[in-house]
Amino acid sequence: MADDSDRGSFGDARLPVSPGYVHPRNRNRIVWTGVALAALAGGLLAVDLGLGSGDLVANGPLSSAHAALDGRCAQCHTPFGGVRSSACSACHDRFGDAIGAYTFNAHYVYASRDRTRAFGRENEVACAACHGEHEGRGRDLRAAVSDARCASCHGIDGFHDGHPEFTFAAEAVPDDAGLAFTHIRHVDRVLDDRGGENVEAACLACHEATADARGFQPIRFETACADCHLAPHDESAELPVQPRRAPLVRASGDGVELTLGVETLGMVRARMGPGEGWAARMSAAGFEEDDGFVLKTGVVHADPWVLHNLRRLRRVIYPSRGLADLLATSADVARADEPELYEEALGALRDHADGLRGRDEDWVQAALLELDRSMGALERRLADPNTTLDDTRFRLNVRDPRLTDEQLTEIDLFAAEIAEPCTSCHTMERATIRRVRQEQQVLRRANFDHGAHVIQRGCLDCHTRIPFSDYLGADEPADPRLDDAAIQNVPAVAVCRQCHRPDAVSDSCVTCHDFHPDRGARLRLLP
């Protein structure tokens, strides 16, 4: 090594220049420090993953609902397969559901009613895509779905910005409940009877909350209407009795000849045909017959004698008897049994059509064509919860072509006469008392909790379309156009937005909407 003096000096202090190459200290020490730390961290994670609970690797604790699955990663996670919806269904569909209660298909059918989407397709959106886990014990997997998830398909930024007007409001859909009802007049009467001016108390006199206070129980005639309507002394109109020698309808040339009259209780009892057992139980004391006319005193709600005579008229209009005769009357069937009854009837119709297939006679082919068309329409009607169910649906809706318009009008007028005690409340349609829709046909895809709202706002704060306050107690009745049963007295979306907005009450999609149809809705979706 050379001496310092050989190479000179530098600086004021004459520091010696380096005698040779200065070897830097070993720089690998930095790398090895990092490797040691990384090995420690990696080792901890590997041990936790292989032998421990996986908590270190997990992206946070599971929600409270899934806390029992802590440390059981394989319960949900498939190696290199993510979280498959089948793992969710293993528990959540445990009780079976043909359509797959929590599938995207169910949601799609729920929204579109396109039943072809319900089968034979893979789920398009996995459960885990919306219900993100490992976000803490307090995470509500149902409520924590972000609006962005919905917006990715529905293209709506949020409730406050982009949510369309409710369909009934945008399309001015009337309240087609099948009733002729005047809200103002009834509220006025309730206030008169009970005293006071509390309109909302008057509302609650008829609209009784359900046990969970989310909605209202169906209004029943017996509890809400019977106090005032159909008292024992109420009578039917004086109706002509059907002459024994003159049937209701008789062929005459190319047309028909009508002799409109009602069957008396005695006539029905004498025959006692299928579905006419009511006649044996009905008291004859209420009937007064005189000079070819009959009058019934003490008409009751869903009076079997009235309904029987209406059904006779419907047979005139729709002579293709078929399955309709298997059904007693629409009013006789318990509401809960209706879907089953009509599905059974439709099944019988399908069997009949299948028996005809393969025959090449022209009339058979024409009949099959008509049957298929009618069955298709019937299936759609049955799937549509807004459709009135009555026996006319099973008469193929093929009106007797021999009937003239004048004769149809004559039948309608006679039907209205028969049902005269009923028509002060009920509406009629082609000799049929329309079924009363107990559930309102609006906001069907949203959840609304009346109980949560009514403690903060009054009924009339939202239900503003019928002007109660302008007419209650007034000498003159309300303009019929303003107090019409067809008025959909439900607020438009702007009313909801008064409170539900980004800086106030929650306005997320899941505040009102469920991705998964509830069980009741799913029943209607099943083919």
Partner: protein
Amino acid sequence: MIRGLLAPRTAVSAGWWRVFLVGAALSLAAPLVQRAPGVPGGDGAWTAAYGIAVTSMLIVALAYGARRRMPRRGPGAVHHWVQAHVYGGALFLFLLVAHTGAAAPRGALAWGLWVSSLCVVVTGLAGVFIQKWIPPALTSALSTEVHYDRIPGLVEGVRERAERLAAASGESVRKFHAANLASVLAGPRVSFVYFFDITGGVQSRLRRLDYVRRLVNEDDVGRLDELRALVRAKFEMDAHYTLQKALRWWLYLHVPPAIVLTVLVAFHVFAVLYY
């Protein structure tokens, strides 16, 4: 601030600066585009895309470490690799924010990823800053340039020469040396004052020697002047020692966390694919 740290000073880095600006703009715009109605791909697809991008940036940044260890004739010029390392590392942070949705991490691994990522990026930016600031500062304000690894030896030489000078001097210089200079010259010293004043206030610290110079006899004036030059050189070497140490030791805050981050990312990628 970020422009001060990352802005280009050469034509080569100007190109990389523009690439970085475009990348950063895309990283910031992508989450807005993602939330627009009608944009295809669910959140998961976008998150995965950000994840792939952020992992790619990490690999780019890591590749610089490998390139440095290659022979001089390795792939690409090293200065390009440096630019890719710096700008890729900065972009890594932007993409990481997009990948995580700027949400607080959940779980130990996620926290580890966040903390190590922040540590690596912040120390990396700090490294860029001190590498741009310290070398010019050392060369512009100090009269000596000295190799970091030689400083202990040179300081030892300065100490020995100072002791020899003091021994040859009169009593007043010897006492002054023993009381005031011996401890100063004992070895290299780290002082944070050099981060704020590169000279460390050397003039005020030498003023005492100037005062003593007026009190010593004629024979010791020359020795005291030489002693003054040695003390000044020692202070400058302390400045070099402190700041060059920072240039070396910031790597301990950058490289080991980067290696830990790499392992954690590997675990994260495995966990995502496996689970």
